[in-house]
């Protein structure tokens, strides 16, 4: 099957995305499986890798991009949603953990 340049480019997007995702997943699983770090360190690494992987998925599979005009609607929507989600998740955790601490 011979591919046109644009076809190659599109295929590369998915391929790179998949490759990166596999590496990141393996990284965080290995971190836990082999207990490479102390507990808090493991958690930090796992959460960081997860965050990066979410970005990879958004970029390579969902084609989010800050640079292309056409994708800007979706990007704005995503950023706004992310802000609201951080607000409600953060707020919930702060409130509930504070209450738990005060009941101890």
């Amino acid at each position: 099957m011979n591919m046109s340049p644009s076809q190659k480019r599109d295929f590369a997007t998915y391929g790179i995305g998949y490759l990166l995702a596999v590496v990141l997943t393996l990284g965080s699983f290995a971190c836990v499986f082999f207990r490479l770090l102390p507990q808090s360190g493991t958690l930090i690494v796992v959460f960081t890798l997860a965050f990066v992987q979410v970005l990879v998925h958004l970029r390579c599979f969902l084609h989010m991009s800050p640079f292309r005009r056409a994708a800007r609607d979706d990007l704005l929507l995503l950023l706004f949603s992310a802000a609201i989600i951080m607000l409600i998740v953060g707020g919930t955790l702060v409130i509930l953990f504070n209450e738990r601490a005060r009941m101890m």
């Binding site: 998949y18 995702a21 997943t25 699983f29 997860a50 958004l58 949603s81 989600i85």
Partner: protein, 211 residues
């Protein structure tokens, strides 16, 4: 909004540029509306995650996650779902670059099999936990665990149903505009579920197993 655009991957195969304004608006908004829905869905998952976070220590003297979760099955589930996401990428790609039905249909089949494999493993996992007495009725922790992961599982199940229906529609109508739009939406849905799963395996499974 009116500038002419290159055909793009995110509207794979729709070739918006050569459609009249009203049609283009309708097509764009069909996809955009689904994005908005996904964001609303993301809020639901975010809330389930935060409830899970507040319930982490609420095992009420019952089974604890460190003993119930198996890193191997979490890993294989991840592998299957991740690969299925890539397979759906191939559906979008073949939609954009070929006019033939064969390739998208084939990759859709691959996606389905991988997704079904994931669901099969997950159900098996759940049943093992039930057997150990780690049921949603046992403690607040397991209520929040099963509802969070189960909601994702239900989404995957509806995604699988949707894939089947799209298969039937492709057979009936070929790749007409409605089918293409729904395939694009299905793609967004499927990739979105994979993102949710990334957070689940990191926060829920690895988060508990790291302890």
């Amino acid at each position: 909004m009116s500038e002419v655009r290159e055909p793009e991957l995110r509207h794979a195969g729709l070739n918006l540029a050569d459609k009249p304004r009203e049609v283009r608006e309708q097509l764009e908004s069909d996809v955009f509306g689904f994005w908005v829905f996904l964001m609303s869905d993301a809020v639901i998952f975010a809330l389930l995650f935060s409830i899970y976070g507040t319930m982490e220590s609420a095992t009420a003297g019952g089974p604890v996650p460190q003993h119930e979760f198996k890193i191997s099955s979490a890993f294989w589930e991840t592998a299957l779902l991740l690969t299925s996401s890539f397979a759906y990428g191939m559906v979008s790609l073949s939609l954009k670059h070929t006019r033939r039905l064969v390739w998208p249909a084939l990759w859709l089949g691959v996606t389905f099999c991988l997704g079904a494999g994931f669901l099969n493993l997950e159900v098996h996992d759940f049943l093992t936990m039930f057997h150990d007495g780690a049921t949603p009725e046992r403690s607040g922790y397991f209520s929040s665990f099963f509802v969070l992961v189960g909601t994702h599982g239900l989404h995957v199940f509806s995604g699988l149903t949707w894939i089947l229906l799209m298969g039937v529609q492709m057979a009936l109508f070929g790749l007409d505009q409605r089918t293409r739009i729904n395939l694009i939406r299905l793609g967004l849905f499927w990739h979105f579920l994979d993102i949710i799963w990334v957070v689940i395996f990191s926060v829920v499974y690895l988060g508990a197993l790291a302890r």
